[in-house]
Symmetry: C2
Subunit: 398 residues, 2 copies
């Protein structure tokens, strides 16, 4: 199986273009972006579980139920959450304006937002912004910038695979981290591919992949009102339609998993105030769901996050975090930090504190726990908790 990472972007798959503009929603910054497919594409989506879902989330859920999308419009200034009926109307108007501009079915236009809660969209600015977007000059780097809020870096990735002699490209772009108007750390993820795959299978594949990728990251334990991941597959690679159970499907799924995992890790590494990416793997669990849950709890523990910030090999906080949420006893647990064994058979092992503390100053910190209770494992990603996180979220006023 050859899966090749390429220097690509959201418009690398055949038939996709992306553009962005400054719609004056923010100060001198690209703040409105669009992804377009030449032809209607199968669309799959996963959304926030927050009961206070934003207006565009409701719209996109209906769109994904319809199974087809040809465009995604995104603003990164106003979340359009807790905005009542007016918010729904504004999201629908946005949809209609994009459809008119690019001659599309409005029901094929996905609308995404991130930004301040409880504020209505300034529709005159949105309309002007949409009028400035172009289907001619693809500007994917602009799109990657336009969706950012407090993110420090753009987050893009692209992979290519050969499926039945045809080259299929899968590309992704996302934002995470937090907001310029920090109400929560919203993540938006957009994935395009020219693969030919039926919508139900695409949705099934995404729903499965999400559990081990985007759902396994945490910055501050807060779930946004606007979280959205969309995958558009327009079939222009002209591969034979991917069918479940085939080798080609397996290759595609692996590549899509890599795209999601890479984007997820980029979000965690760029978490608000973060200085380090933390990767936690829990192995030896009776079931994978529990393994993932425990891993995510460890990486979300404020005490673990501050210890990593301080380069402190404080394994007591790790095992305490495990004990808090583990559904089963862990009498034979083994714990490794940056490759250094610190706990064996649930008993402390002597190690060089100063040496391990040095290793904890690296940009990526890996914690591995083997529960020795089964065969399943799970991984989660997060970041350290720093002065900067408190500053970003305390000093910026809503």
């Amino acid at each position: 199986m050859t899966i090749k990472e390429i220097k690509g972007h959201i418009a690398s798959p055949k038939g996709f273009i992306a553009d962005a503009t400054h719609a004056e929603l923010k100060f001198q910054k690209l703040d409105l972006g669009v992804i377009l497919s030449q032809v209607p594409a199968a669309v799959a989506g996963v959304f926030t579980t927050n009961k206070v879902a934003a207006a565009p989330v409701k719209l996109d859920q209906a769109l994904v139920a319809g199974g087809v999308a040809q465009a995604v419009i995104v603003n990164s200034a106003i979340a359009n959450a807790v905005t009542g009926d007016e918010g729904i109307r504004n999201a629908k108007t946005t949809q209609r304006l994009v459809a008119e501009k690019f001659d599309l079915n409005p029901n094929h236009v996905a609308v995404c937002s991130t930004g301040v809660i409880g504020k209505q969209l300034p529709m005159d600015k949105i309309a002007l912004g949409i009028s400035k977007l172009s289907a001619e000059n693809s500007h994917p780097a602009g799109f990657a910038q336009a969706i950012l809020t407090t993110d420090l870096v753009e987050k893009e990735v692209a992979y290519q695979v050969e499926l039945g002699g045809e080259t299929v490209t899968i590309a992704g772009v996302c934002k995470g981290s937090g907001m310029i108007h920090p109400n929560m750390a919203t993540m938006l993820g957009f994935i395009t591919t020219d693969a030919k795959i039926a919508q139900p299978l695409l949705q099934e594949t995404l729903s499965e992949i999400i559990e081990t990728t985007f759902n396994q990251i945490t910055v501050d334990g807060d779930t946004s009102t606007n979280d959205t991941v969309l995958v558009l597959a327009n079939g222009l690679a002209e591969n034979q339609e991917l069918l479940a159970g085939t080798a080609d499907y397996q290759i595609f799924k692996t590549a899509l998993t890599l795209v999601c995992q890479t984007l997820a890790k980029k979000i965690a590494a760029d978490g608000e105030g973060a200085t380090k990416l933390i990767e936690v793997t829990v192995a030896g669990a009776p079931d994978a769901v529990a393994a993932r849950m425990i891993a995510k709890h460890i990486v979300g523990s404020s005490l673990v996050k501050t210890a990593i910030f301080g380069a402190d090999p404080n394994w007591g906080r790790v095992i305490s975090a495990i004990g808090q949420v583990s559904p089963f006893e862990v009498p034979d647990i083994e714990l490794t930090i940056q490759g250094e064994l610190v706990l064996l058979h649930a008993t402390p092992v002597a190690f060089d504190q100063a040496d391990l503390s040095e290793k904890l100053k690296e940009k990526v910190v890996v914690i591995e726990a083997d529960l020795n209770q089964g065969e399943q494992s799970g991984t989660a990603w997060g970041c350290d908790l720093t002065y900067k996180y408190v500053e970003i979220n305390a000093l910026y006023h809503s």
Copy 2:
């Protein structure tokens, strides 16, 4: 019903004394304390739900099952958690040494610890410390100090009630500060009373009260390996034995609830790095358990905690936190911050930002959400998330 707060301490109820000493476990600080009852007392307890429970927790669970205690010994330097069989042996030796010193049944001696995980108790120092403790000169203020770790202040409270013509005193002392998200939080709480009450009813009462008091505070979402609350009732007030369903029992229960709630709030207010106590009440819920769960989630949200630190009336973070965990829709939610209405019928209400920001600089911040979905309510307490929290937990090395 007259329930009177008194200037008292853990040795105020008849027949109790307390003492403390410097056992050289920490640098120049009282670090070992004891509570003694003249006579064997009924004992009730609740303990951490952490699967990695410390050795003393296991010992005390057996003691509470036996129903009788006459002493509690506490050290605040070493948690005696993740210490294997040697940890259990050391906890038992501690029990035996206290029993020998004060001529008690060793099975009536509760042992509590808080501090570093994964380190064995230095039994020579523990033995020397115990030998210095006295049953003659009651020194309850020393005890209140001796159990502290990163706490900045002692936490004591005492109430008196009249039951059938007899004065009954209930007093409590606790430590908290970090790893506070009790199911139970490391929090240790000790309550003494001279009330006469059978052990099963005392346990039933404590188990019920704990749900709305100690289990409703959070500092950092982390549940410790050592959390313990013990109540000793020695019967020396010579009131008629309290029976469920009587008016006297109701008075006693209310007073015990006040003791637990007051101690819980003191822990939240003295959370690591805290500058403010946050009290969140969720009303209008279909059931009380959900109301308490939502209240606790709000008060535990890093984004809410940092906003309060920054005196930012960022109600979007509050409603987002509700939406994350609410088991039901909240289309008619009402939200009040420091008495100021900010959201009505799930729609933003205009308010004076600067004025509310000023009110958020007070030492106690009150957030009230009315879900308008039922008749039940619940309250939770926590504190803001500050630079100091990060400093305490990043710069202190294990």
